[in-house]
Symmetry: none
Subunit: 194 residues, 4 copies
DNA sequence: AATGAATGAGAGTTCATTCAT
DNA sequence: GATGAATGAACTCTCATTCAT
């Protein structure tokens, strides 16, 4: 197992444990889940706070990486929004436990952790906002793109939370369709002619 | 101070402390904030978990109480949705610290606490769903009302979180208008003719 | 057992444990020795460092209390020096383990602890220095009183350390006589005519 | 770098680190300061305790080496005492951090370490005691030479500690003169005619 | 009913020591 | 010989909970 593998193993275990136990996750459990000793966790992360922040930041970075190519080529608002919803659903299927933590402000840990996580999650929305601005061109649209991205993200997240809790699983396809079925027609209202 | 007053004082202090300190809230702080001794908290709530659950359940109950009369008289989906959004914003202005905790699954405490809080927050949506069903009558609408309520709630919560973090305060009026400006036109698509 | 008793019990146990184990003393051992739970120690002292500093400061304060009346009445340098040596020996019989720590700069704990302990131990010498200055009156003596107090203290401490380690006990009477037998004759040299 | 060089490098670094950080010195820091890996320290010293003891013993051995020739030739008690005080001051200038540790019983580490260090420091006084005995010849002096060596060492050490803490540096010349100015006249009392 | 001193299990963190490379 | 990643026992400190008053 290489060094990177071990770091990843700890992060993966941390995700599972944080997701399962929320604020009650202990370093002991994370270490055990990763198959390493408690002290080893501290070789890779200088504190529990640091570990948690790294986990979120790394997951968000991976999420954002996927957006770049697509958004650069996106030609319409419908494209962008569709992509946003689908990507978010996909992300959630993989990282459900982190969802609430990721795109909400409730995080265990210090005030510094809350700030850094909030900043990271805001950054994750930027590429979408920028893509929309590019597509719109100079405009006087009724709703600023930032607000729209926030609202649509909220819809998706909430629906996912609801269905996973209710049903125990997520039909990402159908959920994305539900969100888009509601949202896409409206876009013509908000940004007419695009 | 009557018995009920003391219980309320503890709950109010608990809300302030939980909101301010998230997971780090201690019984000591709550007691001090309520002006009672630590032991007294345990006369009214059998554990910290119990106190937290009671807090959420009571706040949700108060929220739901407000809906009954209005929803019974509501005549259109637009009415209902408008009311949902405005009420939610108003609630948030009063209880922002609890928002994320209330309508998300991330809670400090035991698995039992998570379940009870989730159940309570789901119940809070029911009256809206029922009102919509009543207004719709027997129907084959494209989107089931439950899904719609969930999505709209998500939009509102997310926007609120975003703006409070970003700006440090919430313009409830404007935010409600932003959400409704986007949502109401959509409704005509989803439930045409209503 | 009153509150003050418990605080004293902890301090007494701390002295024994610190003296016996030097830097390796643990809160657990101190608590056990005092017959209280670990957490109780933290009711009375906010950290291990604080506990250690309080211990030293309190012992020095008790030591200084004994000096006041006597020094105010002391009429000659010989009186003062004799008192210094005897008091120091007596103190050491009661608090041997702390000796090295008390009047030397080697202390376990933070830099802040070192400073505060150093300051306290310096203050313990002041009354002697002042008394000597008073007795001397305005003068151009060969040796400043501060230096002399420091040196004589060093002699006494060192001798005590040596004999306790070597013999396992201290004959305070004899040791004081040894120090004074060496020192007193010289005083006539250093401060002639007094 | 030869094997001996590396051992020396570790000892030198250990001295710096022990002196600077008192009880908080870690093997990691010592290794880093010596430019070797942590594991390497264990090739030369079987434990941290062992390293610490070796450090003290080696410094004392070096100190004693300097005394042999001189003491063998010393012809009077004044010579010997003067040499004792000056050598001790000189030693302290080089090894101040270790002083308190060296000639006091406060040492980090096990009881065994305390014993061995105490023994070593006592041995360092022996050559002086023997030299004095030799110079005195068979005698019934008022004070046994052992006691006198101990007391004079204590004066010197204490004065040094005091001045370094107070002033931040040591004027060895002046301090030696202060001690000798006080002590030499006393000797004529204690050992008259020598 | 009300208190708050006392408890002790359990948390995060450190660091001497080991050992496969 | 030399390394440094890995270990886990042991530490300090916190805090939910209890109970004598």
């Amino acid at each position: 197992m290489t060094v990177l593998d071990k770091r990843s193993a700890i992060l993966d275990s941390a995700e599972v444990v944080f997701s399962t136990q929320a604020g009650a996750a202990t370093i002991d459990e994370i270490a055990k889940a990763a198959g390493v000793a408690k002290g080893t966790v501290y070789l890779y992360f200088k504190s529990k706070d640091e570990l948690f922040i790294s986990l979120i930041e790394e997951r968000i970075a991976a999420y954002m990486k996927k957006t770049q190519d697509y958004l650069a080529a996106a030609a319409s608002i419908e494209d962008i929004v569709t992509f946003l919803v689908q990507l978010r659903m996909e992300f959630v299927v993989q990282h459900f436990g982190l969802l609430n933590v990721l795109f909400q402000a409730v995080v265990p840990g210090s005030a510094e952790a809350q700030d850094r996580i909030w900043t990271a999650s805001q950054n994750a929305q930027k590429p979408f906002v920028e893509a929309i601005n590019r597509v719109l061109g100079p405009n006087d649209a009724a709703m600023d793109p930032q607000t729209m991205v926030v609202m649509i993200s909220g819809m998706a997240d909430h629906l996912v939370s609801h269905r996973i809790w209710e049903d125990g699983f997520l039909d990402a396809q159908r959920s994305a369709a539900d969100v888009l079925g509601f949202v896409l027609p409206c876009l013509r209202n908000v940004y007419p002619g695009r």
